[in-house]
């Protein structure tokens, strides 16, 4: 799989993880350029459709990251997000997508280091498992 650069779509909540990614920036922490962040107001706002759309478009991995359970700006968004992710995983299995392709994290606004680490880890892991099988299929259909 030489030269394979995975594509990651990250849904980050406005209050915590988006801010953590900003902090990684202001602290000039380097991480791979494979990630594209979509700002959402709350991790509880992420619909399974958004994740499926990302995979359909050819993303190799999706990250959903937001506040820790007790930090939520909207009281219990992360709980709802966890429930959604649990259901979504089953659907991804049916589509033949490996567990590692969807990552759920809680990254607080102060955890810029953690954000950078999560991205590094994801890129490494996705490089190991290779391109999304869905991408190959959609390309074949096209």
């Amino acid at each position: 799989m030489a030269g394979f650069e995975p594509q990651i779509i990250a849904f980050c909540c406005n209050w915590c993880t988006y801010a953590a990614a900003d902090l990684a920036g202001t602290s000039r922490m380097q991480y791979p350029a494979n990630v594209r962040i979509v700002r959402v107001m709350c991790s509880g706002m992420v619909s399974p459709l958004y994740v499926l759309k990302a995979f359909e478009g050819g993303a190799d991995g999706v990250l959903i990251a937001g506040c820790h359970l007790t930090d939520c700006h909207y009281i219990d968004g992360p709980v709802k997000c966890d429930a959604m992710v649990a259901k979504l995983r089953d659907m991804l299995h049916v589509l033949g997508l490996e567990d590692e392709r969807l990552r759920r994290e809680m990254v607080a606004a102060s955890e810029g280091v953690l954000f950078a680490r999560v991205i590094r880890e994801m890129v490494e892991q996705l490089k190991k498992i290779g391109p999304s099988p869905l991408k190959a299929r959609t390309e074949a259909l096209a």
Binding site: M41, M45, G57, T70, C72, I75
Partner: protein, 657 residues
Amino acid sequence: MEEIKTGVYICHCGLNIAGVVDVEEVAKYAGKLPGVIVSREYRYMCSDPGQDLIKNDIKELGVNRVVVAACSPRMHEPTFRKTVEDGGLNPYLYEHANIREHCSWVHDDKELATNKAKDLVRAAVRRVCRHEPLVVREVPFNPSVLVIGGGIAGMQAALDIANGHKKVYLVEREASIGGHMAQLDRTFPTLDCSECILTPKMSDVGHHPFIELHAYSEVEEVSGSIGSFKVKIRKKARYVDESKCVGCGDCEEKCPWKVPNEFEVGMAKRGVIYIPFAQAIPNVATIDKEHCVYLQKGKCRACEKACGANAIDFEQEDEIIEVEVGAIIVATGYDQFDPSVIGQYGYGRHDNVLTGLEFERLTCAAGPTEGKILMKDGREPQSVALVHCVGSRDQNYHEYCSRVCCMYALKYAHLAKEIAKADVYQFYIDMRCFGEGYEEFYNRLSEEGVNFIRGKVARITDEAITDEEQGKLVVVSEDTLLGKIIRVPVDMVILCSALEPRSDAENVGKILSINRRADGFFLERHVKLDPVATPTDGIFICGCCEAPRDIPDTVAQAGAAAGKVLSLMSKGTVTLEAATATVDESICHGCGRCEEICPFSAPKIVSKDGVLVSNINEALCKGCGSCAVVCPTGAIAIKHFTQDEILAQVEALTEVR
């Protein structure tokens, strides 16, 4: 439909962006994207000339959508929304691409960073065409406030607001205001009399023309939102006509039934009809319904005969009062941790193992022993041990530090020496003397000859193993400075119990729609920058309901909460979130899943022309979007974060360049 004419502006941010990202190439690329009629790059887009570029393009080229690719939107999105608005467009017809914090500052490979910037700009361009103009609405702010809790925090907040001539409804659950501070005899580190500084405040609250005091009352229901909350208060029946009672206490004297006195932490008795303490506000009697023999069994009425003012009214019933306020301050305080759950400390088993509050009452001239420190057998203790961190800094109970115990333990050490001339042993983990004059007080006590032993107490036992220990309580602990286990025989042990969340904090949180942290205390909006606000607009917290704290910090927080409320009132209106949920009634089935999931009670299922549909109260909606995720028909959309917009953005991000 109008033709989309998007203007794209790439900021160099000096070399912060342009040093890594090829801004000219990104601008050139953006210029070819569908819908883009102008694409520019400029050294500092946030400067006046940078903003003028946008305004001019709106006027002269008819740009009707704007994308700026620059720093984080958390930094300059508000700036450019304002620019767009000044240029004559709706401020929501704007999208921000973050190519600094999320791109040029975290990637050093120029090609990769430039490609990423192109992707982010493309996604922003795709999304901005889908933005709809939104209206920020202002609604009037009701200039009155509800304060829940009449301890020092609630009283201070109420007085600060009432002194600004704004109406305050102060609700206190107990028969009198005063809270825990009224039970204290002296306050550290100055050892000034708690009552002397508290009673004047209580009296001010009781007589203030702008404070409507509802003691012996509880908040039952809160609805509405910032600027216009509706509150239902249950005024519990005292069976005493407050307007007639003169607080003489004759009834309590004649009441033949006695029960443990809560104010004296059970160390004295009170009548079933009672005035909680001498300085109570309001100074009226209350019949404790649960213990009243007449109310329970239909015989007695001794108080009625004793009352010269004809104030007793056995027919009285609970009354529901409804008030409307613009803001709410929660100051519900704390409960003391019950140390009997730590079996090895023997609280409740050994007579002379006391809690801090029990010892406090012993030292009070108005207390059960008239200020004498006495053991259960009536003797003065010759030696006293103080055990710190009982239930605090302990993973079995509460991990947090209760903040006040070190200092009140020092106060008790001083009082035990001064009043009972006792030897004092303090078992501490760390001495935390952080406030003004606190370290000095610690030094003073060290000089007074208190024995400080560093170690966590393992157990307290009455099993003597030497003659010296006979008839004593033996405190067994490690002395970490000596590195050995020691046994200290004493006459009395004081457990410095943790401060913990009120046992009904969960319910109060539900009534108010405010959240609690893992430790059970109410959650502030931001731990550093917004410590007295809650995530629910218009609801503030102060004092020990937020976390354990001492009196000076509580008073400061109460003042801060009052200041926040007064500033809201001074503006007179509330700005409502524009990016809220909206319902497409033509496809809504009225299933109610949105109503179930919303933490702010914004959606309500209502009947419109005989059809059930969801109706969103925009004043309550925060735009978190959880309703839209669970909506089975897709009837709910979050403005500015619609499914269509996010899908378009995701699609654009995954496209091959």
